[in-house]
Symmetry: C2
């Protein structure tokens, strides 16, 4: 793709100047429409060292009110950032609805440099391509405009610019070894960049290769593409997107109605004994998990009053309090609602070696948001696949991902609601909303059945916790967790990855 | 303080057990009241290595619903964290109203270890003490309960525990050189700890020294103090706090009514010329600022339609876009409102070498929040001093802090409002609220006069930008900024701190 790119015939100076005036004014107008439409716009600049990425960003943003954009300069990941998935530090920075995010380098740069330095195996590189393309698609499907520019210059041009920078004491610190290496091995990089562009080029987030030999000409090309992109996106806003085939290997799961709750109980004495034994084992496993830098993600969904809180507590009370966080998930705050629905979960991931427990989760998309109409049907229909992709990222990162559905029957819920209502110490746990949700039991049942069926992937299956007897559910949860951690540690040790 | 501490007579096992049951149940009850009262609770544990800080936190939180607390383990600052003020990484983590934050070590540990290693000068250490005490006071004055525990053990006990850990292959990694050094130089540390405790002990955030020779006994002492603290705080909620004397050296400033706006104008031609020259200089200065790692904070307040936006743009358009961020400040989001009012500014500070421009600021406390009754009179009366302290922290950190009040007269505002209303492209800039605020012109004038008078400290004075002629205001702002940066660079070079 890059080798085929012919530097287009550049217009002459006056033509460029005239066109620039038009395009700049267009962008001034567009920013208001972007804001009004609540369109989030990501403008990503990749390209050769000293191709002028910073400079073109500086020129483009001159046309935009500072309240409507942020510029992000993505350096190499810090040791802290390396303890999160590759995508994490990028997704953290995605703009809010109605705003622009400009990125001076993005995930391309990190991927290529690791690829060429040999720190990514071929299969890891292929996995990266998949992570990037699926994530870009998930962004655009969820209303993001993603504009990707590659600033292209010839080897000679780059050499000349580097020499100029190096010759001046005021600027020579701006040239680093990576720039020089890139110029030295220009053709190797050209091939790698070209392959990457081809692999990540798609109609929803296409690449724009920009002839960057001249500043104003660069700016003009970028503005033209950007303005076109915004116009198209504004015309398409609230477009429905194809529901992709859910190609994940799925586990066969029962429907809620077929889950046997009767007889799933444990007597207090046996309970205490097993609880103690599991706690002891879990405590030991946590240290191993910490030492092997394995991230753990535990997701809870379930009926109101099913006993999620108590269940979570039986897990966390066995853990060193410095190694886990519980995230209670309520309705999103404005700054969360203004971004991709998975953003608030991406930003809540634990670092490796730590655990995060989610008390309600990203599955809100296909449960409450679906049933209350907080998102469109197209949105929640797409979400099964988006969520499976998200969880595959977690799995590929090396995380233990455990999803619990805490199940009770309708009658048990009524009993517990009434108990809470009548107990002054528990009244805070029950609200009008709980009663209203209860009326939608059947609709929720259908949504849960569909969710469990479509998202019980082999890498992150659902586990049903029969919780008419809370003791039974707690022991079962602990046992599943202990088994999963043990398995993860065995795999880690087998593969010799232990640090 | 620490040398005088006599390990209290420990109750016997049964007594401890009985008391523990009572105190645990109390905490279970308290968590709901804390939540209902919206009380934010910080529980800070400092103390000797292997005194059991993590263990006691683990025991205490067993009584609290995971939704109501977070545990923070404060390790040494990372290189990234070192690019922010000392207080920054701690204040980032303060809990929301109604929640507990448990801290395994806090700002004491970092301060003492830097103090003893000699990396803090005496005057820097004294300044730390001041930062810590004023910040703790600002937290408690703004409704935080701050409980500080020091876990105390004897040299022999510590030695025994370290030896036990070292003897076991499973646990020896948990002992590091700092622990061993501490035990070796126990008395030196004892003195340093003792002095620190004395210096930072105050009625609003007192120290509790805990005899930590026995786990359950430790837990019991902590629970007793914590429960007492919560009870007192609940009884005192919404208490008014003393308005401290504003002891900062202040610059004499004019009242708004005395600011001459007439004749403060610049003709277009001169404007273009000066703008170009200032932009060029500012661009150069930014690189020096970046290389010398000086943080820059530019704060804008002013009347609606005074021209803040355009003024900001004339500054940022001269800057490399990767080196600054503009923060538009609207009303706080729920998670911001639930914390100390300065939290959303602490978390938006630039790292050193970078600039942050605030389009409206922390002065909202004494302007809109005062006038709309969003905080109590006691709250905004205290805020002048709290803000001066906050800005002194920024100044001591090495930041250039520039505060602009953008001034226009009542008639000019009316003219601009009407223009906006009549211009379809500018209508988005004007809202009903703007018209409502305009009716409160006189009340705002009084509030602004008081604000400028009380917060024009020598280290962070206000600058008035006469903006009936926007060109005049822009040139003045640029000149003030350029002068301030130049001065900061000269000081930096003089003091030989340049990196």
């Amino acid at each position: 793709m890059l080798r085929d790119f012919a530097m287009a015939d550049k217009p002459n100076k006056d033509e460029i100047q005239a066109e620039l005036a038009i395009e700049r004014e267009k962008l001034v107008q567009h920013q208001i429409k972007v804001k009004e439409a609540g369109l989030p716009v990501m403008v990503i600049f990749e390209g050769w060292g000293s191709s002028g990425k910073g400079s073109v960003i500086g020129r483009v943003i001159k046309n935009i009110d500072p309240r409507f954009f942020r510029v992000h300069s993505m350096a190499s990941p810090t040791p802290e950032e390396q303890r999160y998935p590759f995508l994490h530090r990028y997704l953290k920075q995605i703009p809010e609805a109605g705003k622009f995010g400009f990125f001076d380098r993005f995930w391309m740069e990190e991927t290529i440099s690791q690829h060429l330095s040999g720190s990514l195996t071929k299969s890891e590189y292929r996995r990266r391509m998949r992570s990037i393309t699926t994530t870009e698609r998930s962004l655009t499907d969820n209303g993001y405009l993603v504009m990707k520019f590659f600033l292209h210059i010839s080897r000679q041009t780059q050499r000349k610019r580097l020499d100029q920078l190096l010759a001046d004491k005021e600027s020579n610190w701006r040239v680093d070894n990576d720039d020089l290496r890139e110029n030295e091995n220009y053709h190797e990089y050209l091939d790698a960049y070209g392959r990457y562009l081809t692999n990540t080029n798609s109609p929803n987030a296409p690449w724009y290769i920009v002839d960057a030999t001249n500043r104003k000409w660069t700016e003009l090309q970028v503005l033209q593409f950007l303005n076109q992109g915004i116009e198209t996106a504004l015309a398409n806003h609230a477009l429905a997107h194809p529901i992709l085939q859910n190609i994940f290997a799925l586990k066969r799961m029962p429907r809620l109605a077929d889950i046997e709750l009767e007889g799933k109980q444990i007597e207090p004495e046996e309970y205490s004994e097993r609880l103690r034994a599991l706690h002891e084992e879990l405590g030991k496993l946590q240290f191993e998990i910490y030492r092997h830098r394995i991230p753990v993600i535990i997701a809870y969904e379930g009926w109101d009053a099913a006993g999620k809180g108590g269940n979570i507590k039986r897990i966390t009370s066995a853990l060193d309090c410095r190694g886990y966080v519980v995230h209670p998930i309520a309705s999103p705050e404005p700054h969360e609602k203004a971004r991709h629905y998975l953003w608030r979960f991406w930003t809540r991931l634990p670092k490796n070696g730590h655990a995060a427990v989610f008390d309600r989760t990203w599955y809100g998309r296909v449960l409450v948001e679906r049933l209350e109409g907080f998102c469109s049907e197209n949105d929640w229909q797409r979400a099964y696949n988006e969520i499976n992709e998200f969880e595959r990222e977690l799995h590929d990162w090396g995380a233990v991902v455990i999803k619990f559905w805490v199940q009770i029957d309708n009658q048990t819920q009524l009993q517990r609601f009434t108990d809470r209502q009548n107990n002054p110490e528990k009244q805070w746990k029950i609200t009008e909303e709980d009663w209203r949700n209860r009326e939608k039991w059947d609709a929720y049942t259908r949504a849960v059945d569909e969710m469990i069926r479509k998202t019980s992937t082999v890498h992150a299956p659902w586990h049903i916790l029969e919780s008419n007897d809370k003791r039974y559910a707690r022991i079962k949860a602990l046992q599943i967790l202990v088994d999963a951690l043990r398995e993860a540690l065995e795999n880690k040790t087998d593969s010799g990855n232990a640090k």
